[in-house]
Structure formats: C-alpha cells, structure tokens
C-alpha cells in the first residue's frame, strides 16, 4: 500500500497537475489545460510523463495536508479546484453525512440510505426518501465514488459529487432529503444551533474563520468525506501486492472474468467503467444496455427508469447505464439500477444467458433479444462450476476493512457506548 500525497499532485484538478508536468506557470489555477491544436476532451496526450508517485512527491507542497492512501498503481482522483481535501473537512463531512438534521423533516441523513456495512448501499431495491417516497432506483455504493466521471446510474449532467449531492438534498421527483423553499434556511439554522459545528466549519474552511454554515460548505464537506471513501484493500488487492494468494476457484474465476469479457465494462482497478484519475488521458463516459428489459421488442425499459435516454432523449440510449464498481459487490444486493436481481448468483447467470427474459407481468419481454443490447452482453457457455468460480472471485473484491473502518463510521453512534456524540 503506497501513499501519494495530494500536495504532490496539486490540490486541484489536472490543470495544476499539468502545470507541474507540462507547462509550469502557464495555467490559471484550477483550469484545465490542453494545447489549442487539440480538440477539447483530450488532454495533451503525448507529452504527459509516466506517472510516478515518487517523482511527483518532489514536485512541491500544496495547501492541503491530505494524503491519498492508494495502491502504487492508482493515481489520485480529480478534485474540484474549489474544494480541496483536508482531514478537517473530511471529518466535518462525516458528521454531516450522518446528521439527520440535514433533511427537511429531520428524519434522514445521507447515511439513512448509505450503510457502511453494505458498502454504503441500503439493501433495498428502491431507496426510500424522508417523506416515504420510493426512488425509482437503488442507492449506489459510495466506495471509490471519487473516481467516477459521472454520477448516479446514468446522468452525464452530473460530473462531480458536489453536483450529485444537490439532487438528494433538494430533489422533488422523488423527494429524498426533502429540503425545499419552506425549510431551506431552517435546516441551516438547526446546524447553526449545534455548538460543535461552527468551530468545525471554521477549521474545514479556513478562508471563512467565522465558520459560516452555508449550503455551499455543507455540500463541499460531505463531498470531501465521500471522496475519502476509498476501498482498495480487498483480497484481490492483497494478492496483487503479493501479500495473499487466490484459492484455485478464485484464480479460475478471475481468469473467466477476463475471458468472458466482464472486464471490458468492469475494468480494473475499480472494476467499473468511467474511472477517472488525474492521470487519465482518454475519459470514458460510456453507458451500456445489458438486456435487462425488452417491453416492446424494440428494447424498451420500464418508464420509471429508462436510463440514459431520460437525460439525452436519444432513442438509442434506452436502457443504458453506467457499469458501477464491483468492489464489495458481495454486500450490495439487490443488484442492477432497480434492484431487480436479488442475488449475485442470479446476476452472473443473467450475464451468462446474454440478458434477461421476463416471462410474465407488465415487464414481460426477452431482454436477450433487445436490439439495443451491448454486443458484449451475449450468451456464453459458462458451466455451473464456471459461474461458481466467478462468484468466488467476485467475493475477493470485498474489503472488510472498508466496511468497518472507523474513519467512515457514523460518529453519532460511535463510543462512548450508549452516549450519543455531538460534533
């Protein structure tokens, strides 16, 4: 487990990083850099040096004291220029993440739908909001959320955790945290009344020594906490680091995982797509149709959650979703965007079958025959043993330390036993 300091990378998005590596001093802080001859979207492809944590460590000190604890081959995530990481901000974010006063009616925190022991999912097919409204989709794992190019299941309008968070907080369709016109200031006043908070806000946001409790600061602190939720200490990681060995079924499962092209969408090291670090050159923002539904013979998904098409309006985007991380997948049932697959065995069998056929009910249809299905999702001759081995491998992606790391735990429930802590 190597470490890379953020100050080495610059507490900014790659503008600062490129400023170190390519064109020192030529960039405005926090701005992205690409040579004018290149089309936007591709950052200086040829002159970027190979990433070396050691060399970057010497690159100079930044403003933050945050240290990314990452495997040596994983570059740090991109961090918005206006929200640098710091331990104080992450710790404030942890309190806020678990603080029920953050919802309109005071009944729910972020943690009410994101349980640490379930890799920050909630075990439900459909999240349940503070006013009892069910969400069309299942709460996503927050493990390694810092690295996503876009957020939620399929929304390219959300490219930062900060922007994502405004949805559960302020969203009306459905209501989640339920902050609205009537209570938006009241929620801040509740936090202001908590004696511990102003000091923590002042420390987390040193540019504002008054410790102003604003929505801007609340969202930035929670986003910083979410960026700190790193899961790179599974058996898979330990095997990779030479500190453990796969069992025979696990090793065979990994081989099958690669042979059966699961890895094409669930790419290492995060076993996801859209994995974005400061070192990423070609940013992947792809979405896939996995043949879960085919209501009309033309690939239609249920209207409650049609996928990327909801944002883009493009017919070809029907049923397209991000490939979420498979890290900790063992504990994040039920599966898929709508929780419609109960177990991991079923999920593996579904892919082996090249999609899902639903024989009855209003969602009946043969997803395997969907014209919109990605070509990688196709029937594959995977025996029961193969599928069992795949399952064995997937379980090596569980990171028990992450699931009980006290740095990520609910501070209101932590010791001293029986006594509710305050910030």
């Amino acid at each position: 487990m190597g470490t890379t300091t953020l100050d080495a990378w610059g507490a900014r998005w790659p503008g600062a990083w490129l400023g170190v590596s390519l064109m020192a001093g030529a960039l405005c802080p926090g701005q992205w850099a690409f040579a004018s001859s290149e089309r936007p979207g591709h950052i200086a492809p040829t002159t970027t040096p190979a990433v070396s944590a050691a060399s970057l460590k010497r690159a100079g000190a930044g403003p933050a004291d945050w240290v990314w604890q990452l495997p040596a081959d994983v570059a740090p995530p991109r961090v918005p220029a206006d929200n640098p990481m710091s331990p104080a901000k992450v710790e404030l974010g942890r309190f806020l993440f678990y603080d029920k006063r953050l919802s309109g009616n005071g009944t729910q925190s972020c943690g009410s739908c994101h349980f640490q022991r379930l890799a920050f999912t909630d075990g439900r097919a459909h999240g349940l909001g503070s006013t009892g409204e069910a969400h069309p989709r299942s709460p996503m794992s927050l493990a390694n959320a810092a690295f996503n190019a876009t957020y939620t299941w399929a929304n390219p309008a959300l490219i930062t955790l900060e922007r994502q968070m405004t949805n559960p907080v302020f969203g009306e369709t459905p209501v989640e945290m339920g902050v609205n016109d009537t209570n938006v200031q009241q929620v801040l006043q509740r936090l202001q009344a908590e004696p511990g908070y102003p000091r923590r806000f002042a420390t987390a946001f040193p540019e504002d020594p008054q410790g102003t409790i604003s929505w801007d600061h609340v969202i930035k602190a929670v986003s910083a906490f979410e960026r700190s939720l790193l899961s790179f200490n599974s058996k898979y990681d330990r095997v990779k680091a030479g500190k453990a060995r796969f069992s025979a079924p696990e090793a065979r499962g990994l081989k099958l995982f690669r042979q059966a092209e699961c890895v094409k969408c669930h790419q290492e090291p995060n076993f996801s797509n859209q994995f974005l670090t400061v070192a990423t050159r070609d940013v992947d923002v792809s979405f896939y149709n996995k043949g879960l539904y085919n209501l009309d013979g033309r690939g239609a998904y249920p209207a409650a959650s049609p996928g990327l098409i909801e944002i883009t309006g493009k017919a070809a985007d029907m049923g397209h979703y991000r490939a979420p991380t498979l890290r900790n997948i063992e504990v994040t049932a039920p599966y898929m965007h709508d929780g419609s697959v109960a177990t991991l065995q079923e999920a593996i069998a579904l892919y082996a079958d090249g999609g899902r056929r639903i024989t009855q009910g209003h969602n009946a249809g043969d997803g395997r025959a969907s014209p919109l299905k990605n070509a990688l999702v196709r029937s594959r001759p995977l025996s029961h043993q193969d599928q069992a081995d795949l399952l064995a491998f997937l379980k090596t992606l569980t990171d028990p330390q992450f699931l009980r790391d006290p740095r990520h735990a609910d501070p209101f429930q932590s010791p001293p036993p029986g006594k509710r802590r305050t910030p």
Binding site: W13, G15, W32, F34, P40, G41, H42, I43, R78, P80, A81, D82, A149, T150, N155, P156, A157, L158, I159, T160, E162, R163, T166, N167, V169, F170, G171, E172, T173, V179, N180, D181, T182, V184, Q185, L188, S214, W215, D216, I219, L276, V283, V285, P306, I309, E310, I311, T312, G313, K314, A315
Partner: protein, 316 residues
C-alpha cells in the same frame, strides 16, 4: 451551438415583424389590448424608469392562489394554483424603427440579476394561500432603466440564458436568484440547470391530480475531461416573448394557464417536466411554439413562423 440564446434571438426579432399582425389580432380577441400605444408608442422620461408587471390569468380572468379556476382543459375542469413561478431574461424595449434597447435591471437581489445577461424570477404564488405550497413572497415586477425616449413594445425570453443556467446552484458566487439556498424549488439539479417555469395546478377532481409544466433545457451534459459542469444541451427550450405593441404603463404580461394547458385532461395528472420523450409535453410545448417530438428528436427551438400563445398582454 444551439444553446446560446443569441442565435435564436436574432431569428425571433426577424420573425417578430411578421408575427406582429397576428399578435395584435390575438390581443384584441383576448380583450386585453388596453392602450397599446399606437404608432407613436409611449415615452420614458429622463429618469429612465420602466416597470413591467406580470400576472396570472385563466382566459380573461385574473387568478391567484386560492382562486377557484374553472373551465380548464379538455373537460372544462376546475383547479387551483399550486405553484406559479418563471424566469424572464434579457428584457428589451422595442422602438418604432425596429431597434431594441436592453432594460438595465434596477437591482441584483433574490429576484433579479443584472450582468452581461439579465434574469428575473417572477413569482405569482405564495405558500399558505389556498392550495399554494411554495415560494415565500410574491414578485410581480421587473424594474429597470432605459435611455429616455419613445418606445412601442417589449421583448424578452422565458428562461435562463445558457451563460447563467448551469452555474453551480450552491456556490455563493452564483447570483442569488439562481441559487438553491434562495430559490430551491427553481433549481433543477437533475438536469444541471434551472426550471424556467414551475407552473402547477391542482385539480378539484377526485384525488386532486396535478397538472404541471416544468420547462427547462434538456439533453444537458457535462465534460468530465475538462471539468466543465455542463458543456452543451440539445434542447434549449427557451421561449421568445415579443409584444410589438405594448405599453407597460397600461398593460401587464399575463401567463394564461387556460391557454397553456388547453389540451390537458385535468381529471388525471399531467406532468410535463420537459423530458424529451414525454408525450404529455406535446400540448404545452405546442402552445409555447417550441419544437418538440415525443420520440426525443425535438430541437427545443422556437418554431419558425409560429408565436407562443400562453403569454399575452392584458390591461392593467
């Protein structure tokens, strides 16, 4: 790039002349013509002050929170306002020679922002009154200044300009009128922008189904490679509102909900949130003369040769 308001704006001015005749017919038909100024128009004195008033109407009847509105939609149903707010941007006064002069807003505050683009939030509903559930205070006015002189009409845009629409809704540097901590109900974080309109009517039919229009830009996506929160939208959905013959001293601009939801069946819910594939948007988008196809191929551009008929001039 389809998202910048300037591209269609010049187009809409070209179309304004041809639409003027039809518009004046419409105004007189609605009985809301008042003193339309005639060919001489009206004058702005040396103070430069101009005050534009807005109102909510159902047909020829002014309405507000608590008003029992009748005769709505395809089944002539009854309803009450639940929420009625919309953004107006880049107001310009028109001169007889066809030129236009930008109105400089008098204030930048919780309802207004004056910058390279300007935007105001008009609020015609107030929580706690009748069935109204949101917005703490009414705001029926846009106030500003122009050079003294003779004017004949006014033009503006329903919606928030691209340059402002996608600013971070919680950043203190974002104009207050567009922020989630000031007007959370108008932020539209799921689509990376703002609701241009939040028009919601609660039917008096069984179950009180809601008919609503949340207009806003759709198909908006970010550019994670370059850290740009929203880099483009496919359907801007901004509506040019041009009143070639309009006198703010004697007239107001009214949103006529009866016209907006003329084809809706108020006995069931009619929720148009501008989704590019939502068939329930065909009606209201048609009234707003915005290009929309429920197969997702709508451009969100004003339809050439057509004029919206939801907003109209009424006598004060």
């Amino acid at each position: 790039m389809a998202c910048f308001s300037t591209s269609w704006f010049s187009k809409s001015l070209l179309g304004a002349a041809s639409a003027a005749l039809a518009l004046s017919v419409l105004l007189s038909a609605c009985g809301g013509g008042g003193d339309s100024g005639g060919s001489n128009g009206w004058s702005v004195d040396s103070s430069g002050a101009v005050k534009l008033q807005f109102a909510a109407y159902a047909g020829s009847t002014p309405i507000q929170c608590g008003t029992a509105v009748a005769g709505l939609g395809s089944k002539s149903s009854g309803a009450q306002i639940q929420d009625l707010r919309f953004y107006i941007s880049n107001v310009k006064l028109l001169k007889a020679d066809g030129s236009s002069v930008a109105l400089t807003l008098s204030a930048t505050d919780n309802n207004n922002y004056q910058g390279t683009d300007s935007v105001s939030l008009i609020t015609l509903s107030q929580t706690g009154v009748g069935s109204c559930t949101a917005a703490t205070a009414l705001n029926k006015l846009i106030q500003g200044t122009v050079p003294a002189g003779q004017y004949v009409g006014v033009t503006m845009t329903l919606g928030v300009p691209f340059s402002l629409n996608h600013l971070n809704s919680t950043d203190p540097a974002t104009p207050a009128v567009l922020r989630s901590d000031v007007n959370p109900g108008m932020s539209w974080n799921w689509r990376g922008g703002r609701k241009f309109t939040k028009v919601e009517l609660q039917s008096t039919d069984t179950g009180n189904p809601v008919t609503l229009l949340h207009l806003g830009s759709t198909g908006c996506v970010g550019d994670p490679a370059n850290g740009v929160a929203i880099s483009s939208c496919t359907a801007p959905n901004r509506v040019p509102l041009t009143f070639s013959s309009f006198n703010p001293n004697t007239q107001a601009i009214a949103l006529d909900v009866k016209s907006l939801f003329a084809s809706a069946d108020f006995s069931v819910a009619n929720s148009c949130m501008s989704s590019p594939t939502d068939a329930k948007c065909v009606g209201p988008f048609g009234v707003l003369a915005l290009n929309f196809n429920s197969d997702g191929t709508g451009t969100g551009q004003p339809i050439s040769g057509q004029t919206q008929s939801a907003f109209k001039a009424v006598g004060l």
